[in-house]
C-alpha cells in the first residue's frame, strides 16, 4: 500500500476518533446543562430519601468536577460501562445489549429494502426517462415526505389489522419469524430513505449516463446490462454510498418512531421512553452509541470510497 494511502487512512481514523470524543463531551456536557440542580432532573418523580439522592449524585459523578466526571464516564464507556439506568436500575450497557438485538436487524432490513428498491427505481427512471422518470420522481418525493409514523399507521391499518398478513407487534424469534415480524416496521422506516435514495440515485445515474465515457462505451458496442453495470452503476456508487452513509442516521433515529408505533422494544423506543422519563444515563448511553455507529458507518464509507473511486486514493478528487 502506498504511504500516502496509509497516511490518509490513518487521518480518517484519527478524525473519526476525534469526532467521537468531541461528541461525547457534548453528550456528557448536556447533563450539566440541566437547569437547576441536575440531580433533581435525575431523581424527578421518584420518592427518594436524602441518602438515596446523595447516592444518585455520586453514581452520576455530579459530586465531581466536570472534567473528572467526564473522564470517569468516558472511561466507563470504554469498558462498556455506561452507568446505571435510574428507571430500570440495571446497567445501561446490558439494557442496550438486549435491545440492539431488535434494532440492528430492523435497521439492516430496512436499509436493504431502501437501498434495493430505491436504487432500482432510480435506475429505471434514469434509463427510461420521460414519463417513467416523472412518475418515479413524484413517487420518490411523496415517499421522502412521508413521516415514518404516518407510514407506520397506514401499514398497520392495512397489512396487520386489515389484511392480517403481518403481525402488528413484537420482534419474533428465529430467523424467518423475525423476518416476518420486522417486515412492516422495516418498511415504515425505509419509506423516507427509499425516497431520498430514489431521488439522489436517479440524479447520479442520469448524470453518469450523460457522461462521455458512456457514449464512448456505446460507440464501442458495449450495451445493455454490461454498460449499466460497468459504466453507470459502478460510477454512481461513490455518491450513492455517501448518501447511504448519511441515511443510516435517519434509520437509526427512525427506530425511535417506528419501534414506538409497532410496540418493539428496541434502542429507539428505549431512547424515547428514557427521554420522557428523563432517565439521563440511558439517554446519554443511547446517544453515544448512536453517534459511534453513525461515525463508524461514515468512516467505513469514507474508507470504502477509494475502492469505489480510485481517484480518491491520490487525493485527485475530494
Amino acid at each position: 500500500m502506498p504511504r500516502a494511502l496509509l497516511t490518509w487512512i490513518g487521518g480518517r481514523l484519527l478524525g473519526a476518533a476525534a469526532t467521537v470524543v468531541a461528541a461525547s463531551v457534548l453528550i456528557y456536557g448536556c447533563l450539566r446543562l440541566v437547569p437547576g440542580d441536575p440531580v433533581l432532573a435525575l431523581t424527578a418523580g421518584r420518592r427518594l430519601s436524602p441518602e438515596q439522592i446523595e447516592a444518585v449524585r455520586q453514581a452520576s459523578g455530579l459530586d465531581q468536577s466536570l472534567v473528572r466526571g467526564y473522564l470517569d464516564w468516558m472511561g466507563g464507556a470504554l469498558r462498556l460501562d455506561l452507568g446505571l439506568s435510574l428507571h430500570y436500575r440495571t446497567e445501561v450497557s446490558s439494557l442496550l445489549a438486549d435491545r440492539v438485538a431488535v434494532s440492528v436487524p430492523l435497521i439492516l432490513y430496512s436499509a436493504v429494502l431502501a437501498v434495493l428498491l430505491g436504487c432500482t427505481l432510480a435506475l429505471v427512471s434514469a434509463v427510461r426517462g420521460g414519463a417513467v422518470d416523472r412518475a418515479a420522481s413524484v413517487l420518490a418525493a411523496v415517499a421522502t415526505a412521508t413521516p415514518p409514523f404516518v407510514a407506520a399507521v397506514v401499514l398497520l391499518s392495512v397489512f396487520a389489522v386489515g389484511l392480517g398478513w403481518f403481525p402488528a407487534t413484537g420482534a419474533g424469534s428465529g430467523f424467518w419469524d423475525r423476518w416476518w415480524h420486522l417486515t412492516l416496521p422495516a418498511t415504515a422506516m425505509a419509506v423516507a430513505a427509499f425516497g431520498v435514495l430514489a431521488r439522489v440515485g436517479a440524479a447520479a445515474f442520469s448524470e453518469e449516463l450523460g457522461r462521455d465515457h458512456v457514449t464512448v462505451a456505446r460507440g464501442r458496442g458495449i450495451g445493455g446490462f454490461a454498460l449499466l453495470r460497468d459504466h453507470v452503476v459502478r460510477n454512481a456508487l461513490a455518491p450513492l454510498v455517501t448518501v447511504i452513509g448519511v441515511l443510516t442516521a435517519t434509520l437509526f433515529v427512525g427506530t425511535a418512531v417506528v419501534e414506538t408505533a409497532f410496540g418493539l422494544e428496541g434502542v429507539g423506543s428505549l431512547l424515547v421512553g428514557s427521554v420522557s422519563r428523563r432517565d439521563l444515563p440511558v439517554v446519554q448511553g443511547v446517544s453515544l452509541v448512536a453517534v459511534v455507529v453513525f461515525v463508524a458507518v461514515n468512516t467505513l464509507v469514507d474508507l470504502a470510497l477509494p475502492l469505489i473511486d480510485p481517484r480518491v486514493r491520490t487525493g485527485a478528487v475530494r
Partner: protein
C-alpha cells in the same frame, strides 16, 4: 535604467521563484517590460507560464524574487489598489471571469467605482465609451455574460481591464479558447489598443504562431525555467535551445514529419536524466493535479 529622462521600464521581474510544497513551479524567472512593449511567454503545459503571470498581478506571492511596477516594488496586501491601477489581467476563460449575475456593463463599471469615485453619470458615459472601444454596443452591455458569445465576452473582459487604464496587461491564453475567425478579431483589437494606449502586454500562450504575431520579445519556459529569451522573430527563426527547436518542429506544416519531435524529445529528456532507467518517465505518471 532608472536614470533621468530615459524611459524606465514599466515592469521589472527579478529572479521570481515559486514553490508549492516541494514542487518548484517557477524558478529564477526575470525580465523587463518597457511601456508599450509586448512580451510573450511560451512553453508546454505545466511549464509555469500561468504561475508567472499570477505572480505579476499579485494573485500569487513569489517564494522569492521581486516585481517592480513603474519603478516601485509591488508589495503584497496594502498596495493592492496601486497595483491594480498599473497592471491588469485577462483570463483564458472569459465566461468564468465575470460574475454570472451581473450585466457586462455593471461588471465594467465596478472597477471604475472603486478607482474613480465620482458622479454616476460620468461613470456610465465612460462604460459606454469603453464598451464601444472594444466593439460592444449598449445591447451587449445590458446582457448577462451567459448571453454573449465567447468573443464578445473576451471583448468585455478587455474593456473591464482597460477601465482602470493600466500600464500593463497580462493576457493568459486570452485567445486560446476562441475560434480562429474570432481569435483574429481579438488579436486585431489588441494590436489596435496597444497602438492607441501604449499599454504594455505580457502575452502568455502556447500557440507559437499567435505569439509570433503579437509579441516583440519572447520567453521560452520549460519546467519552470526560462530556457530561451529574445526577440520573437529571432527566436522563432533561429532557435538556440533544443527545446525551442522541439516546440517549433512540433507545429504542423506542409511536409511535416510528426515523428521528428518525438525523437527530439526523447533525446532532450535523455539529456535531463543522466540515468534513463528510472522506470516510467514523469510524463507517464502525473503529479497530483487532475
Amino acid at each position: 535604467m532608472s536614470g533621468g529622462d530615459a524611459i524606465r521600464p514599466v515592469l521589472t521581474a527579478t529572479a521570481l521563484t515559486k514553490r508549492f510544497g516541494s514542487f518548484t513551479a517557477v524558478e529564477d524567472v526575470g525580465f523587463t517590460l518597457m511601456p508599450g512593449a509586448s512580451l510573450g511567454i511560451v512553453g508546454e503545459s505545466g511549464s509555469g507560464k500561468t504561475t508567472t503571470a499570477r505572480i505579476l498581478v499579485g494573485l500569487e506571492r513569489p517564494t522569492s524574487g521581486t516585481v517592480v511596477l513603474d519603478g516601485e516594488p509591488a508589495a503584497g496586501g496594502g498596495a493592492r489598489r496601486r497595483r491594480a491601477r498599473l497592471i491588469q489581467m485577462i483570463f483564458q476563460d472569459p465566461y468564468g471571469s465575470f460574475d454570472p449575475r451581473q450585466s457586462v456593463a455593471r461588471s465594467v463599471e465596478e472597477p471604475l467605482r472603486l478607482h474613480f469615485p465620482g458622479p454616476a453619470a460620468d461613470r456610465h458615459r465612460r462604460v459606454a465609451e469603453l464598451l464601444d472601444r472594444v466593439g460592444l454596443g449598449p445591447r451587449e452591455g445590458a446582457a448577462l455574460p451567459r448571453d454573449l458569445s465567447g468573443g464578445q465576452r473576451q471583448r468585455a473582459a478587455i474593456a473591464r481591464a482597460l477601465a482602470v487604464e493600466p500600464r500593463v496587461l497580462v493576457l493568459d491564453e486570452a485567445v486560446a479558447a476562441l475560434d480562429v475567425s474570432v481569435q483574429a478579431q481579438i488579436l486585431a483589437l489588441l494590436e489596435e489598443l496597444r497602438r492607441d494606449t501604449g499599454t504594455a502586454y505580457v502575452f502568455v500562450g502556447h500557440d507559437l504562431a499567435v505569439v509570433r504575431h503579437v509579441t516583440d520579445e519572447v520567453l521560452v519556459m520549460r519546467r519552470g525555467r526560462v530556457v530561451e529569451h529574445g526577440d520573437t522573430e529571432r527566436v522563432l527563426r533561429d532557435p538556440h535551445h533544443p527545446y525551442t527547436r522541439l516546440l517549433l518542429d512540433s507545429v504542423p506544416s506542409p511536409g511535416w514529419d510528426p515523428g521528428r519531435p518525438a525523437r527530439d524529445r526523447r533525446a532532450l529528456d535523455a539529456l535531463d536524466t543522466p540515468t534513463p532507467t528510472t522506470g516510467h518517465g514523469e510524463d507517464q505518471c502525473r503529479s497530483s493535479n487532475g
